[in-house]
Point group: C2
Chain length 149, copies 2
């Protein structure tokens, strides 16, 4: 098992590589955001990300977080989730997976694919809708809320 420090450095390098592969400059904010997202399982909002990065990057600004998330999403490095009337949330893993959202508390959980058969894109829906990807959203009651917490 690597030490946390080694891990962080390793994933920063990976992040930088992923950025350059996507044709983007590997700037400090981008590397920091992509690295943070690769381990942050909270599906953070822009604000949550800023908070978690501020210690190491005191000068990082919220507007930079927004523009960076926009660019990363465009290049497919992260996925923006619509949090049903809440603010934008973000998922930073490469791994294909779905999401479960708690009706009560709004918490978002990752769900491995394979629970359900899914069409393999490309596929075309009526009206000439060309399917690029399929994302399943489970509306759930999470364990904590089910318990009445």
């Amino acid at each position: 098992m690597n030490q946390p420090d080694t891990d962080r450095i390793a994933s920063s390098r990976q992040a930088a590589d992923r950025l350059r592969e996507a044709g983007l400059r590997a700037t400090a904010p981008r590397v920091a955001i992509l690295t943070a997202l690769s381990t942050d399982r909270r599906h953070p909002s822009a604000e949550m990300l800023l908070e978690s990065l501020r210690p190491g990057h005191p000068s990082l600004s919220l507007s930079t977080v927004y523009t960076t998330l926009e660019v990363l999403a465009q290049r497919g490095l992260i996925r923006r989730l619509g949090a049903q009337g809440d603010r934008m949330r973000v998922d930073g893993t490469a791994r294909d997976h779905d999401h479960a959202i708690c009706r009560e508390c709004g918490a978002i959980f990752d769900v491995d694919r394979g629970v359900l058969p899914r069409p393999s894109p490309p596929v075309t829906l009526p009206d000439g809708l060309h399917v690029e990807d399929v994302h399943i959203e489970y509306e759930v009651i999470c364990a904590a809320c089910g318990r009445g917490d």
Copy 2:
């Protein structure tokens, strides 16, 4: 075929009934919003709804639209859609269906269920997530955008 007027009156009555069944008062704004949503295929935002209702309901306020949508969603009469970093959008049909969102232009389309087998809730996912409903989101390129419009 009924005349539009008859239709509108009929669906207003239906809307009022649905509200009362859900334990809500059938007030003018609520009936208007629910009625509008039953035919509006745009998945409108709060603002879009206000615009479309203003002619017949000049005194309707945006804050009322918001609070009403909140209540209707809580009672399951409508569904709030997360529009991926955009504003909140809403779907007002009782009919179970999924959605396709164009990556390019953000347009939202209805997709009939049945295209894909789906688990019939209730079902429990790992971590004690109790599934209440399943919603499939297709990421698509719509016909207009595919054409390069």
